[in-house]
């Protein structure tokens, strides 16, 4: 009735595609012997799962894709964590195993003194944040967060102390409130839809930006610990 016939006829090919991709992925896992490769290949099977779920193509299916993605991510994280723990135990038991050949990006000491190295990152970060605010919403948040990460990393790389807001979690909480208020207004007073749309969009922007920024900060602290 409401859905064009072409979309309905896409359902079966999409399911077949998902199953075939999953089959190829499992075959590759069966052939491969390296554990890291197997871990990456299982992700392909997980993506095939997203294929099959999203082939349904209704609002309900969209509600199923998100938990599916989250489960997929959580499992990948858990398994890779296990792999890391196991390798660490192996190295503890036999420290010589640690002495494998590894290469750095810069094999020799590397120093450059150019003005562009100090000014450009700040400028690019500023542009990214500005562009992110202009975009609003999820994409804008990701772009602005990328800008924050770039700023923190470039300062860190030069060995300067990074002055970051400690209240970044607070910003995230406020953004959450904005988002909720926006949604509430949508349902209570639909005539103010533009206001609630902007509230939700700005809330999402702040939320995602602070999240991405936090990831950058955490990464920095991890590097410090090492």
């Amino acid at each position: 009735m409401y859905v064009p016939q072409e979309f309905i006829s896409m359902y079966l090919p999409a399911i077949y595609a998902g199953l075939i991709v999953g089959f190829i992925g499992t075959m590759a896992i069966a052939i491969n012997r390296r554990e890291l490769h197997i871990l990456i290949l299982t992700d392909i099977v997980g993506l095939a799962m997203i294929f099959v779920v999203s082939a349904v193509g209704t609002d309900l299916a969209e509600a199923l894709i998100l938990p599916g993605l989250v489960v997929e991510l959580a499992e990948t994280l858990a398994i890779s964590e296990i792999l890391i723990t196991r390798e660490m135990r192996k190295i503890e038991q036999d420290p010589r195993a640690n002495l494998t050949k590894s290469s750095s990006i810069f094999p020799q000491a590397f120093s450059l003194n150019m003005e562009i190295m100090t000014t450009a990152p700040n400028f690019i970060a500023l542009v990214l944040i500005g562009y992110g605010i202009f975009l609003t919403g999820f994409t804008g948040g990701a772009v602005a967060g990328g800008g924050i990460v770039l700023y923190a990393l470039s300062k860190k790389a030069r060995g300067l102390p990074v002055l970051m807001l400690d209240g970044i979690a607070g910003v995230s909480g406020i953004a959450w409130c904005l988002w909720i208020i926006g949604f509430l207004l949508f349902f209570v007073t639909p005539q103010y839809w533009l206001l609630s749309l902007f509230l939700a969009a700005c809330g999402l922007l702040l939320k995602v930006a602070s999240k991405v920024g936090l990831i950058g900060l955490l990464m920095r602290e991890d590097i410090d610990n090492e």
């Binding site: 999953g22 299982t42 997980g46 099959v52 299916a61 599916g68 489960v71 499992e75 296990i82 196991r86």
Partner: protein
């Protein structure tokens, strides 16, 4: 098949929008038993294990640190709650989500142990669980596409079409892999040979959750198919 035939008298339903929880003696019994075990896990004291040495008398006591114990107990309690949720849910996709959650938590419980053999087994089990998320979620999505609903109360009244049978078989494969029973048990068998920890209870939740979920999965598949 009607759920009154499978689970005894219908004691009542809880309407949460289009998600309808139905209470039968069968599901209530499983739910109560799992909650009881969860309470036991929360209260039980850790056991210590003794590692014997061949030909000598230097037996060593293996204990688990306070921090690791807390983390393990927390994950085991969450695992118990998740499997209790899978017992009472009246929605096909919620069941698959609880199932996936149990799978992740099973990996999490043993993720911090020190034996490499246990970690190896957890890694293998994790890979199987991740690959089986394709048939698990895919099967649920195919049933959704074929019938247009995920509510078990509605699904039990519908005659099964070939597509529904296909989806149900895929779901069965997914559940078998995700809970690590029969054909996939080899990947999981080494997982509970870990030292220390409240051995009896916490490791048993890995067993118990998969056992209960299989029982419930048989009920759900019968509901969907007949």
């Amino acid at each position: 098949m009607d759920f009154v035939t499978l689970g005894g008298n219908l004691l009542g339903t809880i309407q949460l929008g289009d998600i309808v929880l139905y209470l039968t003696p069968f599901s209530l019994f499983l739910f109560a038993v799992l909650l009881g075990f969860t309470v036991l896990i929360g209260l039980s004291k850790p056991e210590t294990q003794v590692e014997a040495t061949m030909h000598y008398l230097n037996n060593t006591e293996v204990k688990v640190g306070q921090k690791e114990l807390k983390q393990r107990r927390f994950l085991a309690v969450i695992c118990g709650i998740a499997s209790a949720g899978a017992m009472i849910t009246g929605d096909l996709f919620n069941f698959t989500l609880f199932m996936a959650l149990v799978g992740i938590l099973n990996i999490g419980i043993v993720s911090a142990v020190k034996q490499t053999s246990v970690l190896n087994s957890a890694f293998n089990y994790g890979l199987i669980a991740m690959m089986c998320s394709l048939p698990l979620f895919g099967g649920a999505a195919i049933i959704l596409a074929a019938t247009g609903t995920l509510s078990l109360a509605v699904l039990s009244q519908m005659p099964a079409s070939p597509m529904v049978v296909f989806g149900a078989v895929m779901m069965l494969i997914g559940i078998l892999g995700e809970s690590g029973v029969a054909p996939f048990f080899a990947s999981k068998a080494e997982m509970f040979r870990t030292a220390g920890s409240p051995y009896i209870v916490i490791i048993v939740i890995i067993h118990l959750s998969s056992l209960f979920i299989i029982v419930r999965a048989v009920e759900i598949l019968l509901l969907v198919l007949w």
